[in-house]
């Protein structure tokens, strides 16, 4: 691992395996693609700076997730102050949420969830996907589909309730959440 080419290959692997999912994770905090990428890039660069000591990192994956989480939490704390928008509960909720879960650990769960989404009623799925995948605001969805904001909310609630019902047993049988 001391040779320069090895290092390059090592970091290429990190990018190919983790970059996109780390960005998605960062985006769940900062709600902005560019900021998410900047944060992830900065973390990998930092890892590069200290590459001689990467051997001491027992799990690179959880190190990276933790670093993204901490950096994002710091970042949103700064942002909140800057905006003078004192929503400390929101930050606290982000902390709790990310403390408990690594959303990218379980492909099995992912498959189940995607299957469940496909089984949702048409309109419900449409709304859920627009919100979840296209990142549209509820108001934007309501304008696009010409339905009320309340109806958008109701459909998302319904979609998540369906997912929740389906996996109720699944999550309660897990110890790691």
């Amino acid at each position: 691992m001391q040779e320069s080419q090895d290092w390059e290959a090592f970091f290429e692997k990190i990018y190919m395996r983790f970059y996109a999912s780390l960005c998605v994770f960062a985006k769940s905090f900062v709600y902005d693609d560019d900021e998410a990428e900047e944060i992830v890039q900065s973390i990998i660069l930092k890892l590069w700076e200290h590459k001689e000591s990467t051997a001491e990192i027992s799990s690179l994956k959880s190190y990276l997730y933790r670093a993204v989480r901490n950096t994002c939490l710091n970042h949103i704390k700064h942002e909140k102050i800057k905006n003078q928008y004192q929503d400390t509960s929101w930050i606290k909720l982000k902390e709790i949420e990310s403390e408990f879960i690594d959303p990218y650990q379980n492909t099995e769960l992912e498959e189940h969830i995607n299957e469940a989404i496909h089984k949702l009623p048409e309109r419900c799925r449409e709304v859920f996907e627009m919100s979840r995948f296209d990142g549209l605001k509820n108001k934007e969805i309501s304008e696009k589909l010409d339905i009320s904001v309340k109806a958008v909310e109701a459909n998302i609630t319904r979609a998540l309730a369906a997912l929740r019902k389906k996996f109720y047993d699944y999550i309660h049988s897990e110890d790691n959440i």
């Binding site: 390059e8 700064h78 949420e97």
Partner: protein, 334 residues
């Protein structure tokens, strides 16, 4: 609103602060709720994973990464460089876009502006007190820029008159004065006044001492009580203490502007001086287990780094030295 709605609006980032407060109460009220909340968040993120990842291009990001790191030659010999070389080598690339972003954000955050409007011949006098931990940039009516350090205040008019531009500063500020030979610029402080035509300088005053360092141009510093004055040129400084004689000296403190630039530079500097600058910059205190540590020599530049990062870099520069951080106190030991 029921809990489901609150969670969904939280996930779509449409909750108000009150909604989030209500949700937090619910989440914290039991372990069960906490699990439930985490689980719903987990469905949410997991369900979007594949599609969301497509908007991030790992190949592109990796080439960008290579560009940034290639400036630093990677070689197996890295292991054998001396601590000083090693630390100077890493300094540049540590400044990541995020740090720059955070620093820029920090520059504008947390300040409380107290404005006092006093009507004086139709000219409003405005007072701004910076009570935050970070600096605040103030642009004056003539285009001059004042960087106000934390816990400092400035009073200036909404409009300058034609003969003279007068402001007052209490505390610490860096001034970039727009040149205007017709109207001298006067900074008045509790003990001294500083008169300039156009220049950049740092002024740090309170009721018992005053200190002025000139970065460019020249200034005239006048002690208010005795009316004694001295002219200061580039790189000269005045360190005046109340009731003493005012005199100039050459400025040897290269880090005097670190509060504004975020940059600390050390050039074959003994650690006791390094620590003094770090203490001033980060407002922390540093102690050593062994006085020998003070005489180690460091050459390095730290740009916009956190205190932790700076300590880590110092301890990695000197393999025998480690550090321990407890609140605001750092102990270096060997």
């Amino acid at each position: 609103m029921n809990t489901d709605d609150l969670i969904i609006k939280y996930l779509t980032n449409e909750n108000s602060a009150e909604d989030n407060a209500a949700l937090m109460d619910w989440v914290l009220s039991s372990e069960e709720n906490k699990k439930e909340f985490a689980a719903i968040c987990r469905y949410w993120y997991t369900s979007g994973r594949n599609k969301s990842e497509k908007s991030f291009d790992a190949h592109n990001a990796f080439s960008e990464f290579k560009n940034q790191t290639n400036q630093e030659t990677i070689s197996p010999q890295t292991q054998t460089v001396t601590p000083q070389q090693k630390i100077s080598k890493t300094k540049k690339s540590l400044i990541t876009p995020l740090w720059r972003y955070v620093a820029a954000a920090a520059a504008v955050v947390i300040f409380v502006v107290v404005s006092v409007f006093v009507n004086q011949n139709n000219i409003n006098q405005q007072t701004i007190a910076n009570t935050s931990a970070t600096e605040k940039e103030i642009i004056l009516p003539d285009g001059s820029t004042i960087y106000l350090h934390s816990h400092s205040s400035i009073t200036y008019p909404s409009e300058f008159n034609k003969e003279e531009r007068t402001i007052s500063i209490n505390g610490h500020a860096f001034c970039e004065i727009t040149r205007n030979e017709q109207a001298p610029f006067i900074v008045s402080t509790p003990l001294i006044s500083v008169e300039v035509l156009g220049t950049t300088f740092d002024v740090n005053t309170n009721n018992s001492k005053a200190n002025v360092i000139v970065e460019s141009g020249s200034v005239q510093v006048t002690e208010l009580n005795s009316n004694q004055s001295v002219i200061l040129e580039k790189n000269e400084r005045v360190d005046y203490e109340k009731n003493e004689t005012i005199r100039t000296s050459i400025n040897t403190d290269i880090n005097y502007l670190s509060w504004k630039t975020g940059i600390l530079t050390f050039d074959k500097t003994p650690l006791h001086k390094v620590f003094a600058d770090i203490e001033r910059h980060y407002n922390c205190s540093i102690i050593v287990s062994n006085e020998q540590i003070y005489s180690e020599i460091l050459t390095s530049t730290f740009e916009q780094l956190s205190l932790e990062d700076v300590c880590t870099m110092i301890s990695s520069a000197f393999p025998s030295i480690s550090y321990l951080k407890e609140e605001n106190t750092i102990t270096f030991y060997n």
